[in-house]
Structures are given as C-alpha cells and as structure tokens.
Symmetry: C2
C-alpha cells in the first residue's frame, strides 16, 4: 500500500480552474488538519482556504509531502512546475501526484529524490505485487459505496459515513481506492491502476482482517453499469466482501457520464445487480442506504425525493452534504451487527 | 496488439510434465501447420508430436519465432534454457513466452535481441496503451465463450466453433485473450495483464469493427463466479459486445478451482448473470449453446446429460471434443443473423 506522510503542502501550480483542483479541495475539506499551506505560481488566483507558503515556510511548519493538487488538461507535468518541485525535494519533502505522467519519469526529479533520500509517489501508475483475490472471509465489518455511475458521490458518502461512525466512537477506517481518497487517508490503492487479474486481490489488501467490531468504510469506484469501468467495480465489490452497500446516485442524471446512449439504471436495478454480485463473497450483504446528490433540487424537493426513495427501497436515504449520514449510520449499525 | 510471426519452433526445455506444457500442446493441436519442430534439453522425454530440431534446423525450415511452450513451477526463466534462447536470437528468431518473469528482463537476451534486430514477446506482462471502453456498437457479429469457472474449456469451445464456421465458409476470426490462444492465433491480448481501467477497452480493441456478416469468435477468460477473476470476465464481456454466448462447463465440477468454499453455479444462474451483464452493451445478446467437458462420463451418459441440458436451457449442448460444434454453429447462425 502507498503511504503518504502528512502534513501536506498543496501545489496548485498555474492551474486557475476550480474544476481541475478537485484533489486539493477534497484534501482540504476532509483533512484540514493535515494541510499546512498552498503554493501557487505567480498570477494564479485559485485558492483552497489555506495560507500561501513558500517551500521553506512549509518545511518550517512541519510539512513532509508536497502534493500536486491540480490536474492540467492531459495530466502532464508542466515545465514551469519544476522549480518548485525541485526546491521541495531539496528541502526534504516527498512528492505525490496522481497525474497520467509520472513525476519519477522526470530525470531531474528522480535524481534529486535519490540524492536527498526522498520518496516520489505516483499513485495512479500501474501497480503490481497484489495477490489474486481469495474470496476467503475476513474478520471485521465492511461497508462499500457503490453507484449508478461514476462521479455520483461515492467518495463523499464513504467519508461522511466514516466521520459519522467516528463521532459515535465506532472504530472505523476510511479505505481509499482513488487518487483524492488516498491523499485524504494518507494511504490506499488506486484500484483502476491495478493489473486486472489482481483487482479483487488488491481490494482484499486494502481492507485487511480486523477486530470483529471494526468497520472499514470503503470508497467505491466506477459502476457496474458503466461500459468502460464495470470490471473495476466488480473486482472491488468482490474483494471488499461488504456487509453493507450504500448506493450513490445523482438526482436528475439520465445517462452515464460521457455516454449519452447509456441510461443511468434505476436505483432498484442497480441495487439488485450489486447485491447479486456481492453475494458471491458475502452471502449476508445488505443494502443499508441510498446517498443522493440532490443539488439540482430545493431542500423541500430533496426531502420529498428522499421520502420516495425510502419508500421504494426500504432503506434510509439522505444527501450527506445537506442532511448528514446519521440515518444510514443508524441503519448500518442496527442491521449489520457484528457476528 | 501483439503479433507473433509463424512458423514457430516450440521450446520444451527441461520440463518433462505434460501438465506444464499446455501451451505447446494447444499450439500443436490447433495450428500444426505453424509448427516446424520442437527443441528439448537433453534427458527431457516430453514430446508434442513434432520432429526434434536444432535451432539451425528450425531456421532452415523457415521458423520465425521460438515459443517457450512450457511453464516451470514459479514461471521463471531457468538458467539452463539460456544457451538455446541466445542461439535462437543469434540465428534470427524472435522469442515469445508467457512466463511471470520477462525474457526481456534477462540482460543477455535483451542485448542480443537488440544486436540482431529481433523481437521478444513477453505476452503476459502488464499492457498499457488501450482506450477506456466506449460501449459504442461496432459492425460485425461476435460470439464469446463464458464459463461456470476457469479452465472449463472456453478456449477449446471458441477454437472449435471458429473451425466449424470456417468449414462452412462463414468468414470469422478466433480472437485470443490468453497466452495459448495468442500463440495459436498469432495475435491477441492477454486481458488479465491489462490495467483494470482498460479491460473493456482492450476487449473492444481485440474485436474491432468488421463486415456485417463476419464473426469474431472470442476466447473467454475467468468467470463471473470466480472471486478473484470476475472483474476480468465482466470487462471482457462488456467490451466484446457479444451477440451470442456459449456457456462452458465441466461436468462434475462442484467447486471453483482452488476455492473449495465457492460452489460452481448452476448453468441457469451462470447464463442469467452473464446475459444480464452482457445486455449493458448489447441488448440483443442470446445464449446460443452449452459446451461441456464430459470427460468424466461414458459416451451414453454424456448424451443423456446433454439432452437434459438442452431441455433445461433451451439451446443446443455438446462436448466439442466428442461431438463437435455443428449444433451450436447451426443455432448461432440461425438465431443471430446479421442485422
């Protein structure tokens, strides 16, 4: 597993567009205590609610890792970023990024990291060394966020549920399976970068055996209904062996993102397919809630929508941003008690 | 796509065990016309119905590629193999293998290949460069072998069906997705070595758009009911967009290979799950036959078993080794006519 040392300093480079800075915003929202500042190149007005710092100031504040919190179009390492990245390595920071191109493929960075004994984490690069999934039952409890599509709030739902469990003193870990999640958790595996024979095995590695009352709250990836990513979703589902599934959906989305000929499945069909598949490795799996992105609705409309979903699906529904995760946590703890 | 130049000379090394030579036997069974000889190390009595040749004799017979047709325990490149492999490169042959370790990681082999301008095909190594699956419909017809488990005859069923279609003059290609299949076809992609984000995209690449009356007969991998490999099976199913599914099963197998706590699914459940999943990318997908390994039964028992399966499933059943693929080819061509 990748392990990334906090505190972090977030590098925003010369990317001014909020929508390319999801990683930085996600880290600041969920782990503000791990962030000691942001570094921007001159003229970039993007900010993520952190103080501007220099590399030297970040080190003085205790930073251990510089994370590239933005993606430019194409996911490459811009030449104008290199002076800051080199200064960070020289000052004793590790580097971490989830770009398509590898930081460690830039000869100057690789040489500096070696010279200064620093690590470079290229977290979306192909990963090997995982076992084939065994399907053998592990101790501990697990809940996985699944979705009607990609980008419907699976990571947010998992983080919000983990936080709610922590608020109640229930031992738990958020288990990260994607780039931003890994920076938030400080560890994890980008499952979409694993060799396909080992997806389920990687998922087993991400949530190892644990105390019987401990919950792993696992970030989902993809969707069984996405024509490109369903294999990842299924391997993650099997390897996670979830006791509970939280079904995530964006209200109003009609077709799979970027796939106008693929309808988003009904909640019923999506739940049924995920449960049928999940039973292979955990016969007792249950749907424990529906997590909705209701941002297209007024609050009254959202409440009405949730009430309808609860009636149809027989489990609690919420929008975690608006209404929290209390109801799903209640249901999860009541329905999936430790064996 | 990997493309391997025939004719082949098959290297059996010092591996005497038939069960570790499945690749060599598969190539000789399905493509004897591509094989010009076998090379064994002294003392190895294994043989695959090819004349013994030296590297020089193989070259004189027109060989273009030396294929390592055996696997030793651990899948490594034994030091005692190197003299023959080096002689092959020096004599102008390419090398191909599907071992866990890479031939191209052996410095002497890599250097010799470069020096002589030869290719080294390490076909099970992680593959990148595929697109994400689009799910967009392609022209041409496709049939995919799926299974209740791994190693139930999916490759054999696909090869036998392709041969039967060829016998009838139906334009078709066998599309290889695993090691032995790739050596038989001379091209293909080991889908289990693809980065998981791109499984479906790799499957789309393997069976590209074709003439409306052309059939791709696609080798399946894994099983939706295998706790380690289901993700590969699902991505291949989605990317293949099959019009027809041939369901493969070994009579008498009760549990998933190497997984004594995982029952082999019923034919009904396995067909239902594969059809439900396949509909995502091809609404018109149909089950077109059941291909059985009946080697544990007498011929009379096998005929009775097949009759029962046909009654239960409503499609033709056969054991392709005993009874050929005529009935499934008839049904496929009648039920999945070109649009």
């Amino acid at each position: 597993l990748i392990e990334i040392k906090a505190p972090y300093v977030l590098f925003l480079g010369d990317v001014p567009d909020v929508s390319f800075a999801k990683t930085a915003f996600g880290i600041v929202e969920w782990r503000p205590e791990h962030c000691c500042g942001q570094i921007r190149l001159p003229g970039n007005n993007l900010r993520v609610d952190l103080p501007d710092v220099t590399v030297e100031e970040a080190v003085a504040k205790g930073a251990r890792t510089l994370i590239i919190g933005v993606a430019n179009v194409g996911g490459y390492i811009a030449p104008q970023w290199l002076p800051v990245l080199k200064a960070a390595l020289a000052a004793g920071l590790d580097l971490a990024a989830g770009l398509h191109n590898k930081l460690s493929d830039v000869p100057e960075l690789a040489a500096l990291a070696k010279q200064h004994g620093r690590l470079i984490h290229d977290i979306r690069q192909p990963r090997t060394g995982f076992p084939v999934g065994t399907g053998l039952k592990r101790s501990g409890k697990r809940v996985l966020a699944v979705g009607t599509d990609c980008a419907v709030g699976k990571k947010y739902a998992a983080l919000a549920l983990a936080k709610e469990l922590s608020n109640r003193g229930v031992p738990n870990d958020f288990r990260a399976t994607g780039q931003t999640g890994i920076f938030i958790a400080g560890q994890g595996v980008a499952v979409d970068a694993v060799i396909s024979d080992f997806i389920a095995g990687a998922a087993e590695t991400i949530s190892p055996a644990n105390d019987p009352n401990h919950w792993d709250v696992i970030e989902g990836q993809g969707s069984l209904f996405h024509p490109g990513y369903a294999g990842v979703a299924l391997g993650l589902l099997h390897g996670s062996q979830p006791d509970g599934l939280v079904l995530c959906h964006e209200v109003g989305r009609k077709t799979i993102e970027g796939k106008p000929t693929f309808p988003v499945p009904s909640l019923e069909l999506c739940a049924e397919m995920n449960l049928a598949s999940a039973r292979l490795t955990n016969h007792n799996v249950k749907l424990v809630g529906v997590s909705l992105n209701t941002s297209s609705l007024s609050e009254d409309e959202a409440r009405a929508y949730m009430a309808d979903v609860e009636k149809r699906m027989g489990v609690p529904a919420t929008d975690p941003i608006r209404f929290g995760m209390q109801n799903i946590a209640d249901y999860l703890l009541a329905e999936c008690a430790a064996d």
